[in-house]
């Protein structure tokens, strides 16, 4: 029933009782014995105990106080305690249940009774832990989604409200086609509309990936053509910030990858690089063949990522939204996708970053079917 050996602490001031309990339980459990409460405290502090069998007849109600002490402590409050008691103590036991015991066994007891009760509570404890873990996972997912909605809504709000304003300017005849202001506004709103579309695209990919229904169909893809396409897409954004893009490709590099996912990985990496690189910065993109696949490196000399943040970059709850160098908001959604998609390819993702110096993303993707296994 219980796969791993559980650690059980038995506290009884009668050495014979201790030996009997140990004898009954020890084949399937690790037994810690204590004749004094002080000894029990020491054992608790130094090892991980799953269940406590406590003789309630320890004088001066010390046993009850001991249980209360456990319930009030942060570390031990969830360890189940089973009282061991002589028959004459039953009335007291019922009263003392409030102290926080989960069960009691009266002495003398049947071997089977002890084993069954102990196992029930060990199992129950295990289930409770699993449940709590699941609850925590759900809580984190909800938190992440909440944050995501907020950021996405914010990021979509700006371009949409600007588009609305532009329409009213045109409609009211305030903005004359052909003027410098007109040209700049149209070209800039074209970009932000594209950005909004990209965000919606990311969101859609992310939702599909999360639901587990994503289609993964790897094929042989020329890496350089995918990169060219992605560079084309960010070239205007880069131009706005006078960012130079330098490329160094091995044109023969190919991925054995899913086209949509690979496209998303590359676009997100480049888009992040542009967002986090200041005006007049440089982004280096290199592509080369390696034994283990194809290595894609996107390096920028932007604002970098602090060490603390870097460690939690893929932790959906801790990772917070940051501002790009031009106050572009970055949801972290893109990077989540990159991480998830690279994993699906059995590839690796490496990030080196120094604040204020820049960030380097290195991605290895298998280059043929064999490597994929």
């Amino acid at each position: 029933m219980i796969a791993e050996k559980a650690s059980i602490l038995v506290v009884d001031n009668d050495i014979n009782n201790l030996s009997i309990v140990e004898h009954i339980l020890c084949p399937h459990n690790t037994i810690w014995k204590a004749m004094e409460l002080q000894e029990a405290r020491l054992i608790l502090n130094e090892s991980t105990i799953d269940l406590i069998l406590l003789d309630i007849n320890i004088p001066d109600r010390k046993a009850i106080q001991f249980v209360e002490e456990l319930r009030n402590s942060e570390r031990f409050s969830d360890i189940p305690v089973i009282f061991l008691s002589g028959l004459n103590g039953i009335d007291a036991i019922v009263q003392d249940f409030n102290a926080g015991a989960v069960d009691y066994i009266t002495k003398p007891f049947l071997k089977e009774e002890l084993i069954t009760r102990v196992n029930i509570h060990l199992e129950y404890r295990k289930m409770k832990a699993t449940l709590l873990q699941k609850e925590e996972t759900i809580r984190r997912h909800n938190l992440f989604k909440e944050r995501l909605y907020k950021v996405v809504a914010h990021d979509l709000r700006t371009p949409f409200s600007n588009i609305s304003m532009l329409i009213s300017l045109l409609d009211g005849g305030y903005l004359k086609p052909g003027t410098e202001d007109y040209k700049e506004l149209i070209s800039s709103l074209k970009e932000s509309t594209k950005g909004a579309y990209f965000l919606i695209d990311n969101l859609l990919h992310f939702t599909i990936a999360q639901s587990g229904t994503i289609r993964f169909q790897p094929t042989q893809i020329m890496a350089s053509s995918l990169l060219d396409e992605a560079i084309q897409l960010i070239s205007n954004q880069a131009k706005h910030k006078d960012i130079a893009i330098k490329v160094d490709y091995d044109r023969n590099c190919s991925f054995f990858a899913d086209l949509q996912m690979m496209r998303s990985i590359i676009r997100n990496l480049l888009s992040n690089a542009v967002k986090f690189t200041p005006n007049f910065g440089t982004i280096y993109i290199s592509l080369k063949s390696e034994d283990k696949g194809c290595l894609l490196v996107v390096k920028d000399n932007g604002i970098g990522i602090e060490k603390e943040r870097l460690e939690h970059l893929f932790d959906v709850v801790i990772a917070r939204t940051t501002l790009g160098t031009g106050v572009e908001r970055v949801s972290g959604l893109g990077l989540q996708l990159v991480y998830d998609f690279v994993n699906r390819h059995k590839g690796t993702l490496c990030i080196d970053s120094i604040p204020d110096k820049g960030t380097t993303f290195s991605i290895r993707i298998p280059s043929d079917k064999q490597m994929f296994g």
């Binding site: 700006t158 409200s161 600007n162 609305s164 304003m165 532009l166 009213s168 300017l169 409609d171 009211g172 305030y174 903005l175 202001d181 700049e184 506004l185 800039s188 709103l189 932000s192 501002l323 106050v327």
Partner: protein, 132 residues
């Protein structure tokens, strides 16, 4: 005839700034700056506006700190300030009721609405600058 009012428009979001400028430039002389620091540089270089229309959330020097700099400046402290912001919060509105800024306008995203709110706010400041 007296020359038209000079407006310093401080807004980090270039598209919005341009659109506000398009709406104001028929009536006023408009200069744009993308944050508080740039605005102060413009003023130091000699563009002394009759009214400052500024965003609040901006990089480098935001609207709050920009206001503090202005209020502590010998020559600039009397220039009326209008906040044009997305922050519809009481702590922002308090700046208006405490008369630290002349008006708080929650950014409209329609030309007519913006004109209807912003022009009277700008006109309202007439002559007060010197008394303040």
């Amino acid at each position: 005839m007296k020359t038209s009012k000079r407006i310093l428009l401080v807004e980090d979001q270039r598209e919005y700034s341009l659109m506000v400028k398009v709406l104001l430039c028929e009536k006023y002389e408009v200069r744009m700056a993308s944050n508080g620091l740039e605005a102060i540089n413009e003023m130091e270089k000699g563009f002394i506006p009759d009214v400052i229309v500024t965003d609040v959330v901006m990089p480098v020097l935001d609207g709050f700190r920009f206001l503090t700099v202005l209020k502590n400046h010998k020559r600039f402290k009397y220039i009326p300030v209008i906040w044009l912001t997305c922050l519809d919060q009481s702590n922002v509105r308090n700046y208006e009721s405490k008369r630290l800024v002349r008006r708080v306008i929650i950014k409209p995203f329609e030309a007519e609405k913006l004109l209807k709110e912003l022009i009277p706010a700008i006109e309202d400041t007439h002559g007060i600058a010197s008394i303040n």
